[in-house]
Point group: C2
Chain length 227, copies 2
């Protein structure tokens, strides 16, 4: 309905356990007509940043994310890129990433998100943000976070769309990463009352969405009504 | 020489990879005539705190440290005690400790130190402080740190000695944990120029030892001269 109305659509995800290709495959199987170019995700954003600054990463990321970095020079690393590595978050791998960082004259740590935790079918898991904090503390360094709510991340999504922030609207379930991030970038933002949404979000001390919707379909209704 | 001069001696260690018994055995093999009662260490300090507050810990600590907690009730845990668990810092164990904490109405995290890293024969390793920061961030909680430089830790060593802080002197190689911690407790402190000592410590922005000595023997010389 969004597309049929002639509006542009871009998906902004903090997914770092799979490539955009996998992500799109999953959405297409659910009936969403989406292409890889319509997905803004932390790994390709990090690749842009690495190229821009001539950085060669040591990767501590999920195995399924590795193809996103296939074209990147990883020899003789001068930075560490941290993602939600899940089972790859071993004691040995964490020490290895730490040693590389602490051995750098000016350690550069790039983190694909700063989430605290997330839920899987077998329970809650520590997210990349927790491991980022561990390395930040050990190396006395501040990570550069790629992904929502980084302003740069929303800006690159807007650049893909080719529209200024005041003509774009964000729909998301995360009060801070989705709604807050988009608003700080000059966009309006709707919070859906599904997924991560919690009733307590409606009393958030810092972030207030432009509107609430009960689900994605209702978000589309509202947007199309205002055309 | 300290003992022969009639002075009292207490060892304050942040060692959490072994029991005091193991620690004393190692020192005795080096020729130091030391008993277990002369060692102030984080694990027994934590046990005191657990008993005092009726806390039952889930332990994420080094396997060799477990005997220190043998007498502590660990059923139905209502806090997490974190030590330098080394190989026990697995993804599964970290998630388990995290889930217990996040499931508590008011999470209680007790950390046996807050060191950033340390050196072993096979290279640098992340210390307990890094994992403490990961859990603090994920659970939005502040850990209670047992061990140097906590004031309470030095106070319990002084209580063992039965002397007030102004009559005690600390000798250590760590500018912050040893020297700074002891001074904050009202003791004087010498920094030895061995072990962890780095020349840059002498320009530390916050901590200044009462004197420097080149090694432990020189510290003893100075102390005995002032009797």
């Amino acid at each position: 309905r969004i597309k049929a109305a002639g509006l542009k659509l871009q998906l902004c995800t903090n997914e770092t356990q799979a490539t955009r290709e996998d992500f799109v495959r999953k959405l297409r199987a659910m009936g969403f007509d989406i292409s890889v170019a319509q997905v803004t995700a932390p790994a390709p954003a990090a690749c842009g940043l690495l190229r821009e600054r001539g950085l060669r990463p040591h990767l501590l990321v999920h195995h399924d994310l590795l193809p996103e970095f296939a074209e990147i020079d990883k020899t003789n690393p001068n930075c560490v890129v941290l993602g939600d590595a899940a089972e790859n978050f071993t004691y040995a791998n964490l020490n290895e990433a730490f040693r590389l960082l602490i051995g750098m004259e000016k350690p550069v740590l790039i983190s694909l998100g700063k989430g605290r935790y997330y839920k899987e079918t077998d329970g809650l898991k520590l997210d990349v943000g927790a491991y980022m904090k561990a390395l930040e503390y050990a190396c006395d360094v501040q990570a550069e976070v790629v992904g929502k709510p980084a302003k740069r991340f929303f800006e690159s999504a807007l650049a893909e769309l080719g529209v200024p922030p005041e003509q774009a609207i964000m729909i998301g379930d995360d009060i801070v990463s989705d709604v807050g991030g988009a608003q700080q970038c000059g966009m309006r933002a709707l919070q859906v009352r599904t997924g991560k949404y919690r009733p307590s979000d409606e009393n958030h001390p810092l972030v207030k969405p432009d509107a609430y919707v009960n689900n994605l379909a209702e978000a589309v209704d509202i947007i199309l009504q205002q055309l």
